[in-house]
Amino acid sequence: MFEDTLNERQSRIDKLQMAGLFGLMLLGAAFVYSATMVGESAGAASWYSQSWFKQIVWYVLGTGLAVGICCVDYHTLSRWSFIAYWTAILLLVVVLIPHIGSTHGWGARRWIDLGPFQGQPSEFAKISFILALANFLSRPVEELSHPLNFWKAIGLMLLPFLLILKEPDLGSALVLLPTGLAMLFAAGTPRRFLARLFGGVGILAALFLVDVLFAPPNWQIKLEDYQRRRLLVYFSKDYTPSSHASKMEVDRLRKQQFDDSHNVRQALISVGSGGLAGKGWRQGTQNALGYLPRKVAHNDFIFSVIAEEEGFVGSVIVITLYSVVLFTGIRIAGQARDRLGRVLAVGVVTLLFSHVFINIGMNVRIMPVTGVPLPLLSYGGSSVLGSLIAMGMLQNVYLYRKAY
């Protein structure tokens, strides 16, 4: 009898996914260490204030939170989803207010200072958005074919999207779109709505890009200058100075273009020079010599560090670990007890996938540079906590699956 309960309890979590997550956290700690412990000054700080240790603390805290979330049935959680959603929206508004929102010298207001810690509300907004949308879409399928409900769902998605875009944080805002769409799709929204939405968004996106890349200056949508330049870099377009610009102006733009494409170029060199087997842990030169900027090496560009030091083999390991987590996630969605669990799981999986694809894609130049962290590997408390909470929700769906 006792034996049975124990077995039952053990089989209640997805062990394969846990293994994948654990592997990612191990890699994360090792390479945050490698990326930050360079130069003479790195070893000077006491060990408990170094990035790698902080990262481990975040892992422990995040795991604790995930376990906590697993203790509460996701149905109970979803009842609180709207409170979580509006709290997140409130935080997103608050962060835009100068003096409260902190820029960290990046030019974008994304952080809220909480004494010794800074939080990125957008990370929590992503999770509460998934919870809220899942809750909204879990209503009977017939109601979803009502256009009003469809537009409500779209509204639910656009509100945080626009607020995050305003920070501005294009990457974090963009990942909401595929997540929302996948959830709508998985929930059983009629095809015609989705087709229209897809078409509409597609046309808008195409128009937007054409405008940014080809339109004469005074016809262009007002984008933040750096965002426009990032897009130009991605599409390998010259910074078009007006044809009658002075030589100095042309030179300035050319230099700016070189500087702006610097990160991408250096990330590519890091990844490529790693070769098949890599240079060995902490043997990468791109980061140590500062070609890969120190400011981003341990967060947005952590994948370059791994790829340089562990080569293609390391890249395959990272991709495999993410694949394990993603596909077990989809399996959990398939086994979910009800549509709420299913949509929730699909949301978490899509969110994770979007992050991974955009971040690694940016390192290998198939995606433009947007400040999207690599879940669990990139350094950063908010990102780690957010990812682990999302994973906790996924395990929660698994715990209360229909098999029993």
Binding site: L16, A182, F185, A186, G188, L268, I269, V271, G272, S273, G274, G275, L276, T285, Q286, L289, G290, Y291, A307, G311, F312, S315, V316, I319, Y322, S323, V324, L326, F327, T328, I330, R331, A333, G334, V346, V349, T350, F353, V356, F357, I360, G361, V364, R365, I366
Partner: protein, 661 residues
């Protein structure tokens, strides 16, 4: 696979999601494969070009030694104090930050005042004027770098007890272009300064001593012409890598042995690679290929003799223009190859004292007068004419009356030998123009020129000093047309269309002394490794190489030698060359240098000789421009050289005695 279970189930939505995720991951893997495996090499090359700088490190130059092992050209360590800029990064940054904060707060104050004055806030565009733009930041950076470095230089200056200033533009250029290399602050410290710098335990931040090998000529201006000098040249020589990011100072021979044997002396430059970070500061350095030191060149010169000859040559002080050559008549070894005026080859490396370069230019001091200038031989050519006559069947005892002049056509040529009866012996002793013109015209110009050609007059002596002139000798074509008796008469007394170098005359004299062998002059004995323990065999150049044979009978040579002996010993024109204990055979010469109106404007005075008469070993040739007469100006110089030779032989004999068991 277990995790793909949902594919089998009838769940189109999740199936699509699975395919999308699978596709995404596959796309990432494919790109990674392309970048990390297929084109990895390209990116590795990119990495190398951006993070490595190559530095050309010159090799230690080979030494030049004389025949007894005295070092004529050496290398001396030169100590520089250098700034290692990468060690100053922290103070650079601190200074910049402090300065930027100060300027920013001042700008903020100005902005505040302006807004107060206007009574409203400025728009963000107007505010731009009160923030630092990139150019201003760069300028502040430049200035703070300079200030930090300048402070360090002041510390060095106090320590060395030598006023030093940091040149702003130089420093900035170095910072922009050669950041990975140390910046030299003070060059060529003297021993006191080195001691002062080293005695204090902690040197100022980022400062260290740097050693550089510098060429040094311990004998100063001795043998300067044949040693030559160096000029700065950092380029790669053949066989070296042509592409370097930076090159350390290197030198190449410009002239003399330094130039002629530059390939051997120079060695092979090494290559270091400097790992630099994104800002260009040096992080690490390693030597890829070490420099191979150059090889030593051992000369046939005897530096003591050379010094003695150079001293003896200074009859009119340091501005005397002249040359002296001492040659071993059997081997062709050049024991002395002296030229005056002299210069100091050290000046080309260390810089000239004020006025020295101009003095050198005015005197033509760089020219090796022993090998690189044409001179009319005058009477010292008479032995060749005499030999040609004897071979043509002239009776040496036949007597010719000299009235004190001779008419050739309508031209009257003076004869400085006193009027009287002259046979061959007396004609040589007193250098009678009448005798040699009369007999030379009988023997014919062709005989004289044939003999001259066997002496290889009019051809280069084959010296590796890059200062080698062929002289002038008319060819057979020249004498077939438009050639008059007057021209032949001129040649007979060593004037007119003939010009020689002192070295050529030494080769000629040696041929008279050694029985008719025309030798190649030999200046370099061997080339050997700088490291005596290397076990590498030296390259020895062959000695006694015969270039040609005079092809005259021993009898004719003996008659000539006897006459030349009597010229010195029997109160002839060479009487002033007499040295006790040595029987010298000689011939004086005083050639006129004429202008276009055939007026004498200058004289070239000569003395050719060999000794000892019984068993000739040395040929000594002395030439002085603007001298008085060969007999009064040059013969005494030769005497001094012979004395030095004798002294050297005595010393050597004593040494061998002392070494004998």
């Amino acid at each position: 696979m277990l995790i793909f279970d949902q594919l089998k189930r009838n769940d189109p939505q999740l199936r699509l999601l699975t395919f999308v995720v699978l596709g995404g991951m596959a796309a990432l893997l494919a790109s990674l494969w392309w970048i990390q495996v297929v084109s990895a090499r390209d990116y590795q090359e990119n990495l190398e070009t951006q993070s490595y700088r190559t530095v050309r490190i010159p090799a230690v130059r080979g030494k030049i030694l004389d025949r007894n092992g005295s070092v004529l050209a050496d290398n001396q360590p030169s100590y520089n104090v250098s700034l290692y800029l990468e060690e100053l990064r922290v103070p650079f940054e601190a200074a910049y930050t402090a300065e930027a904060i100060q300027i920013r707060s001042r700008l903020a104050g100005q902005l505040h005042q302006k807004e107060k004055l206007l009574g409203h806030k400025l728009s963000s565009k107007e505010r731009k004027a009160f923030t630092l733009d990139v150019q201003q930041r760069n300028r502040i950076q430049e200035q703070t770098h300079y200030e930090v470095a300048s402070n360090v230089v002041q510390q060095v200056s106090r320590r060395l007890g030598q006023p030093l200033t940091l040149d702003y533009t130089n420093f900035e250029r170095h910072y922009e272009e050669r950041l990975a290399l140390p910046y030299p602050v003070a060059r060529r410290l003297d021993p006191v300064q080195i001691a002062r710098f080293e005695e204090q335990a902690n040197s100022p931040m980022g400062v260290d001593l740097e050693i550089q090998s510098l060429r040094m000529y311990p004998y100063g201006n001795t043998a300067a012409h044949l040693l030559g000098y160096l000029h700065r040249d950092d380029r790669s020589v053949e066989g070296e890598d042509a592409f370097f990011s930076y090159r350390l100072p290197d030198y190449r021979g410009a002239i003399g042995i330094e130039a002629g044997y530059d390939l051997q002396l120079h060695g092979r430059a090494g290559e270091a690679s400097v790992l630099v970070n994104n800002l260009g500061y040096r992080q690490a350095e390693n030597i890829w290929t070490p420099a191979e030191p150059g090889r030593n060149v051992v000369l046939t010169i005897d530096v003591r003799l050379q010094q003695a000859a150079e001293r003896a040559l200074q009859v009119y002080g340091p501005t005397t223009r002249g040359a002296a050559v001492v040659m071993d008549v059997h081997t062709g070894d050049l024991l002395v190859l002296a030229s005056s005026p002299v210069f100091d080859p050290n000046d080309f490396v260390r810089g000239f004292p004020p006025g020295e370069y101009e003095r050198m230019q005015a005197l033509g001091a760089e020219k090796n007068r022993a090998t690189f200038e044409n001179y009319a031989p005058g009477s010292i050519f008479k032995p060749v004419v005499g030999l040609a006559c004897l071979e043509a069947g002239m009776d040496p005892n036949a007597i010719i009356y000299n009235p004190g002049y001779i008419y050739v056509g309508r031209r009257r040529i003076r004869d400085l030998a006193s009027p009287g009866q002259y046979d061959f012996r007396r004609a040589v002793m007193f250098s009678s123009n009448t005798y040699f013109i009369t007999n030379g015209m009988k023997a014919g110009i062709e005989n004289i020129l044939r003999l001259s050609r066997r002496l290889h007059l009019g051809e280069r002596a084959g010296l590796p000093t890059r200062q080698d002139t062929p002289g002038i000798l008319p060819g057979l074509k020249r004498i077939r047309s438009n050639w008059f008796d007057g021209d032949t008469a001129n040649i007979c007394i060593g004037q007119g269309e003939i010009a020689v170098t002192p070295l050529q005359m030494a080769v000629m004299t040696a041929a008279l002394a050694n029985g008719g062998k025309v030798l190649w002059p030999r200046l370099v004995d061997r080339i050997e490794s700088q490291d005596p323990t290397s076990g590498e065999p030296p390259t020895v150049l062959p000695s006694g190489r015969v270039r040609d044979e005079l092809g005259v009978s021993p009898r004719s040579l003996q008659i000539l030698r006897d006459a030349m002996r009597d010229e010195v010993e029997d109160a002839g024109t060479g009487a002033r060359a007499v040295v006790p204990g040595l029987r010298i055979c000689g011939k004086t010469g005083t050639a006129q240098v004429t202008n276009e109106h055939n007026q004498e404007v200058d004289r070239t005075t000569w003395f050719i000789s060999f000794a000892p008469y019984e068993k000739p070993r040395y040929a000594v040739v002395v030439m002085v421009e603007s001298g008085n007469f060969g007999s009064t100006t040059c013969a005494p110089i030769a005497a001094k050289i012979y004395e030095a030779i004798l002294e050297g032989e005595r010393d050597n004999a004593q040494k061998t005695l002392a070494q004998a068991p």
